[in-house]
């Protein structure tokens, strides 16, 4: 198994960060609507 390339590491990091940002955004949006 060869080590991951830089682009793969970037893709993993970006998708995790994006998902967390979306979760935070959805939560904030829902709270704002509820407020």
């Amino acid at each position: 198994m060869s080590p991951l390339s830089l682009s793969s590491l970037l893709a993993i990091g970006a998708s995790v960060v994006l998902t967390l940002l979306l979760v935070a955004g959805f939560a904030a949006q829902t709270v704002a609507v509820a407020g």
């Binding site: 060869s2 080590p3 991951l4 390339s5 830089l6 682009s7 793969s8 893709a11 993993i12 998708s15 994006l18 998902t19 967390l20 979306l22 979760v23 959805f26 939560a27 829902t30 709270v31 509820a34």
Partner: protein
């Protein structure tokens, strides 16, 4: 009714969207790679495995999406409704699109992970359903998604759909053209094997000169349609360049690096310190015209689309050039075969075709393995290099360590010590001698011992000539001295251009199993001898 404290709902939406974007990017990147939309330029090492990673991430985020949806009170779906399509519930249709798409995605992931073990055709057909995954995921996102009404999501779908459609059409067009090019090149190679073209020099125009290492270039030639038949070649063959440099006529052989299907005649040239011809070639530019002999050489491989074999290419330095042509051709023509290239160099910077090999491995991740071996002890290998440490050379121990033996065919090209060491190991591992082909690079001129004086009769299509050969002189040297043309190039016994048939008499070193000798190496071992240039060679 929306539950404002439902983390499962947020995670399901976020992971679903991320998976959708990842799937789209994986499909687009796969199309870019397979259609060579980015051109013949090599994919940089840092992008090599991106397609596979995007696919794996798509699976991971899809599973997170499903798990979070199961935990969310918002959807209120049990395991059966989550995993079995068409189970009746309020969202049966939107969920079914997602579930069926998930199973297709898993099928693609499993066949890709087992690619070496499943039939190529099965992998290919399953992989083609990636487009259905893209469509299914998009429909699921818009039918079931809580964010389907937003402008950014509609924009994403339109942009991704347009790009995928454009690239898919482009890919199909490229594939059809590629099939035609490969078929034509294969047919030309078969004919070159059965009926070698007569060695003749023609003036060709340089189409492009591109660097492939700090001190090496590739040179592509424009072959006019009228000469296409003369320049048909087998992977592994070389051409001889003839040029007058500083008032002296020089000839040098350079291997063809293009594979069947690349649709071009391209050679690799490393600039040797003090090398007059290689220095001359480095100054060439597109538009120059140069004298190029028709392809020749016996270090060849004729691929067959039905073959299922492991081809081992072992090269050092510029010896990679013919091995690369063989590897490219096998990978293009033989979908069931795999190739391992073990490649020795001093440093990564001095490695010819480093980027081209990385790109080839990215296009055929399951079928091509490239192992770099660096002799400079100070080298630190890159992240994606399958490098066997530094300060090492290619030898039998290394091949055993890599667990590559025995292979079905082996092609060795490099200096004599490497070939000697590796060839013995391959034969000891049980490989038949006729399946271990080798070509020497940088072979020294052999000693003149055993060469006697006498007369050689040269039979050619144009007539008969008598050559007086002096003691210690090779037949080629005698021919050059007396103005008799025999095809030649390296004059070192390495390129095989001067291989001619011995009709009668005896020569130093003897003839090979086909009754042929290398005129640049052979001297007379009998008072008289006759050689025939007309059977497969005529004078140039």
């Amino acid at each position: 009714m929306t539950d404002y404290a439902d983390p499962g709902w947020y995670v399901a939406r976020a992971a679903g969207l991320t998976a959708w974007w990842l799937a789209t990017t994986a499909v687009l990147w796969g199309l870019l790679l397979s259609s060579r939309f980015l051109g013949h330029r090599a994919t940089p090492a840092w992008l090599a495995d991106l397609h596979r990673t995007l696919g794996t991430l798509t699976v991971v985020f899809s599973l997170v999406h499903v798990a979070a949806a199961g935990l969310s009170d918002h959807f209120d779906l049990g395991p059966v409704a989550l995993l079995v399509p068409f189970v009746p519930h309020p969202r049966t249709a939107p969920a079914a699109w997602g579930i069926v798409t998930l199973y297709l995605l898993l099928a693609i992931a499993v066949t890709s992970a087992l690619r070496r073990r499943v039939p190529h055709r099965l992998w290919r057909y399953v992989h083609l359903t990636s487009f259905l995954v893209f469509v299914g995921a998009t429909v699921h996102a818009f039918l079931a998604g809580s964010d389907a009404h937003t402008g950014w999501m509609r924009g994403s779908a339109v942009a991704a759909g347009t790009a995928a459609l454009f690239l898919a059409v482009y890919r199909v067009a490229v594939g059809r053209r590629q099939t035609r090019v490969v078929d034509a090149a294969l047919s030309a190679a078969r004919s070159a094997a059965a009926d070698p073209p007569t060695p003749t020099f023609h003036r060709l125009t340089v189409a492009a000169v591109e660097p492939v290492a700090d001190d090496a270039v590739t040179v592509a030639f424009d072959v006019p349609p009228t000469l296409a038949d003369s320049y048909r070649y087998l992977p592994g063959q070389h051409v001889t360049i003839r040029a007058t440099v500083d008032g002296e006529e020089l000839r040098r052989s350079y291997s063809i690096c293009a594979g069947l299907g690349d649709g071009e005649l391209r050679i690799g040239v490393r600039h040797l310190p003090g090398g007059r011809m290689s220095g001359f070639v480095q100054r060439w530019a597109a538009g120059d015209t140069v004298e190029v002999m028709t392809p020749a050489g016996t270090f060849t491989d004729l691929p067959n689309s039905l073959s299922r074999r492991h081809v081992l290419g072992i090269a050092a330095g510029s010896g990679i050039t013919p091995v690369l042509a063989v590897a490219r051709s096998v990978l293009t023509v033989e979908p069931h075969s795999r190739v391992t290239v073990v490649y020795g160099n001093r440093t990564p910077e001095s490695t010819m075709f480093h980027a081209a090999l990385t790109a080839l491995a990215a296009r055929h991740p399951e079928r091509l393995r490239v192992v770099h071996v660096y002799s400079d002890p100070g080298v630190r290998s890159g992240r994606t290099d399958d490098a066997r440490g530094a300060g090492r050379r290619i030898d039998g121990d290394l091949l055993r360590e890599l667990d590559l033996l025995p292979a079905d065919h082996a092609y060795l090209c490099g200096p004599a010590p490497m070939i000697d060491a590796v060839r013995d190991t391959l034969l000891e591992a049980g490989m038949a001698a006729d399946r271990v082909r080798f070509e020497l690079y940088g072979a020294p001129r052999t000693a003149a011992g055993g060469r006697g004086a006498g007369t050689v009769t040269v039979l050619a299509d144009g007539g008969v000539a008598e050559l007086a050969v002096a003691a210690g002189e090779s037949i080629l040297d005698a021919a050059l001295r007396q103005g008799v043309d025999i095809p030649y190039s390296c004059q070192a016994g390495a390129c095989g251009t001067c291989r001619v048939r011995l009709v009668s008499g005896a020569v130093s070193g003897g003839a090979d199993a086909d009754g042929r000798i290398l005129a640049c190496q052979a001297g007379l071992a009998s008072r008289t001898a006759a050689i025939d240039l007309s059977s497969d060679r005529t004078s140039v």
